[in-house]
């Protein structure tokens, strides 16, 4: 559909303008840091080692997340069972947890006194150590597997039900289905999913350091932190920020070249029913994948629940105030994220400058939040009081950070809708708002709800740039939780983490559910 002749609509002009704005919002702060630094500082051997480690761990994390997500998503797509929707929603939770909460949850399972090691000891086996590269990858897979599963699941559910019916009529074997229906979908979804997970892992800081076991696991993000906080070397911070941009651009161009829009044809938007016969072995494999994923993703959450529940009633009042502020902030973030993402996704789906646009969309998670936050601080500081701009800036940065995930969810859905209904819409002369309302929106409700929910939930859990700007009275829930932890108040912090988890999940669920209204799946 790349070359379909169609006048450029207002929506697409908006898309281009937004892409330019996003580019400005990410590179502007970097430029501000550079401006203030006056010159770039060259990188030392320690920085090179940090860059190498950062790329390697991010590659492994993304690869494992993608490979493991495929069987889980396929199993969830072709099995139906009571509680399936709730399980899918719950399994998404790790992605939105604050890092330290998730790490402590993982420690409860994989730590020295964790469930796993206690079990091994009971069997007389020697314990496992979580600290090291494998621990970093494990944690990153824990965070990102849910995202990958959801993106693939949407891909599966986007295959029209009629295709499966036809496949059954033609006597397709599972192998035929994989070859003709599933693989093209995976080829469309996987590269983009790999890219966002890879990039989000390249800015990992706390996870890599805590579970990496020491300075061997130094990431670019830590080097940036050090440059800002202890060396006042803005030139080095800016240089490392540029390296992150470089990694994003190279990875974006390499990975997205692989992506091919699926040509699945369209159906009647009926709920999927699987007519293909599946062997017992397949069924067993599906259940195994679902069970393993559920145990891996839900056990640490259960730990967060069990530890936090006792302290809920005695939480200090400031936590509830912060919770309310965080909910409002995340609603605003979700609205802003959708407003940014939808026009951009429409433009990308038209196939113009696709790689460039997607790379711009991904930049916001590839460049250090510390660089963006500091740059925004430098830009805004002469004009507004940082304390009063803390929440708006946090909302903006969070919306930018959610953008790539929204694009990942929206672009394939829009492409599919355009491929199927575009010619008809063209012949009916539907364009602009009408086309959006009648042709596209009904078909992208699901990813739109998912993306908005993700943006809201991510914003709930993000500590983000607020620490650079915050006024004492304007803390968000994650900040308040971190303050409790820093003041020895572990029980209160655990209860606050549970509140955070529940609110994030609730927000996500409401949006996600809204997107799936009158859907059977």
């Amino acid at each position: 559909m790349a070359s379909r002749a169609q006048p450029i609509s207002a929506v697409q002009r908006a898309g281009a303008a937004i892409a330019a704005l996003v580019l400005l919002a990410v590179l502007g702060p970097l430029a501000a840091v550079l401006w203030r630094a006056e010159s770039l500082t060259g990188l030392g051997p320690a920085d090179i080692a940090a860059i190498r480690f950062t790329i390697w761990q991010a590659f492994l994390s993304a690869a494992f997340s993608i490979v493991l997500a495929i069987p889980v998503a396929r199993a969830l797509a072709r099995r139906s069972f009571p509680g399936r929707a709730a399980l899918i929603a719950l399994m998404g939770a790790p992605f939105i947890l604050p890092v330290i909460v998730a790490v402590l949850g993982l420690i409860t399972i994989f730590g020295r006194r964790g469930v796993l090691n206690e079990g091994l000891a009971a069997l007389g086996l020697s314990g496992l150590e979580i600290y090291g590269l494998h621990g970093v990858v494990l944690a990153h897979v824990f965070f990102n597997l849910p995202l990958a599963v959801r993106l693939f699941l949407q891909g599966w559910l986007a295959i029209p039900a009629e295709r499966f019916r036809l496949a059954a009529t033609l006597g397709f074997t599972p192998r035929d289905i994989a070859r003709h229906m599933e693989r093209p979908m995976l080829r469309q979804v996987a590269p983009g999913a790999f890219l966002v997970i890879f990039l989000i892992c390249t800015t990992s800081f706390a996870v890599a350091l805590i579970l990496g076991g020491g300075p061997r696991a130094t990431t670019v993000e830590l080097a940036i932190y050090q440059a800002f906080r202890y060396e006042f070397d803005l030139g080095r911070a800016a240089m490392l920020g540029l390296v992150q941009v470089g990694i994003c651009v190279v990875a974006g161009l390499l990975v997205l070249r692989v992506a091919v829009p699926a040509a699945m044809g369209t159906g009647l938007d009926r709920p999927m029913e699987r007519f293909d016969r599946q062997t017992t072995l397949q069924r067993a494999g599906d259940w195994l994948a679902i069970t393993l994923a559920a145990v891996f993703l839900l056990m640490p959450l259960l730990a967060v629940l069990l530890r936090g529940v006792g302290g809920i009633l005695t939480l200090p009042g400031s936590v509830w105030v912060a919770a309310e502020r965080s909910v409002l902030l995340s609603l605003a973030t979700a609205a802003l994220a959708v407003a940014l993402a939808l026009p951009m996704a429409l433009l990308i789906a038209r196939g113009r400058a696709r790689g460039l646009l997607e790379t711009i969309g991904a930049l916001s998670i590839a460049v250090s939040p510390l660089v963006i936050g500091t740059g925004l601080f430098l830009i805004l500081r002469p004009y507004v009081n940082p304390a009063s701009s803390a929440l708006p800036v946090t909302g903006l940065v969070n919306a930018l950070a959610a953008l790539p995930f929204l694009l990942r969810a929206l672009v394939p859905a829009i492409e599919a809708a355009e491929a199927g209904y575009g010619p008809l819409a063209d012949s009916l002369g539907l364009s602009g708002g009408q086309r959006l309302r009648h042709v596209l929106l009904p078909r992208i409700r699901r990813p739109l709800g998912f993306g908005a929910g993700l943006a809201a939930a991510m914003s709930m859990g993000d500590l983000g740039v607020i620490t650079l700007f915050a006024a004492p009275q304007a803390g968000t829930l994650p900040l308040e939780m971190f303050r409790l932890m820093g003041a020895y108040r572990t029980d209160d912090a655990e209860a606050a983490a549970l509140v955070l988890l529940v609110l994030s999940l609730l927000l996500f669920w409401i949006f996600d559910r809204g997107g799936r209204a009158n859907a059977a799946t």
Binding site: Y131, I210, P215, Q473, Y488
Partner: protein, 328 residues
Amino acid sequence: MKTPIIASGFALLASTAMAQDSVLIVYTYDSFVSDWGPGPQIEAAFEETCACDLQFVGAGDGAALLARLFLEGAQTGADVVLGLDTNLIASARAMDLIAPHGIAAETLTMPISWDDPQFLPYDWGYFAFVHGTDLENPPSNFRDLADGDLRIVIQDPRSSTPGLGLLMWVQSAYGDEAASIWEGLADNIVTVTPGWSEAYGLYLEGEADMVLSYTTSPAYHLIAEEDDSHTVAAFEEGHYMQVEVAGIVNISNEMELARQFMEFMLTPAFQEVIPTTNWMYPAALPAENLPAGFETLIMPETPLLLSPEDAQAVRVQALDEWQAALSQ
């Protein structure tokens, strides 16, 4: 630029002061201003005496605070900066933003003498390894610790002030042998965390036998939680001190008020708030005025502390040695 832009929104709602009062803006670290930190009590106590509006602005940790001052430079909105430690003083001095305080500070009760013309201490503590009272044969020096097989969690000196404190502790106790101490410690260190909270959390989780914290940490568990199962290992080399200081910004329009605040800082109204909110020793309060429970803490015989200039001078090399030893 010194007229603070009236903060809108929440900051305004929170401020009960009359608009015509003079406003004193104190930059500090985030945990100082939280509801359970010293900030709220100190704000109320000072405002009773000054007919002014004291506003604390929290900015991450001590290092983030200094970074903010650096970013703002001559445009800073701060009148007073409170919360740097001695390892950060040299960098702060180099920014040329701190005025001489001109206060005699004769009431200080710290185990060391203090004569810095720009920075005044308000609290201090000893770094120490906290462990459970059930730990058998806790080490009594770094060599014992390195030779044994205890698991410890420490903070990264590149991102945390306690981490930097430990680096200086080993440096001041062992000098040229510091690198070999770190090589010995490498197999004891379970992991290195970005900040204090994560390390302490891992320790409480049972991931390590000991964690780098303060000699005053057991006081929190004892006083706030009535839990006496945490203690610290006393080290023969002595314990490195963290001295937290404040200074007056030299371009402040409220110099007089700022000086008044610095004097207030060393009075009991400020000092008595510190022990059970910041969980550190007050810098100017006799030991008999400390809350019950503090008498149970160990009191190291040898306080260690590098001067700000020495700390600055050794930092880069010590960091390189640390990184090399732990990256093996």
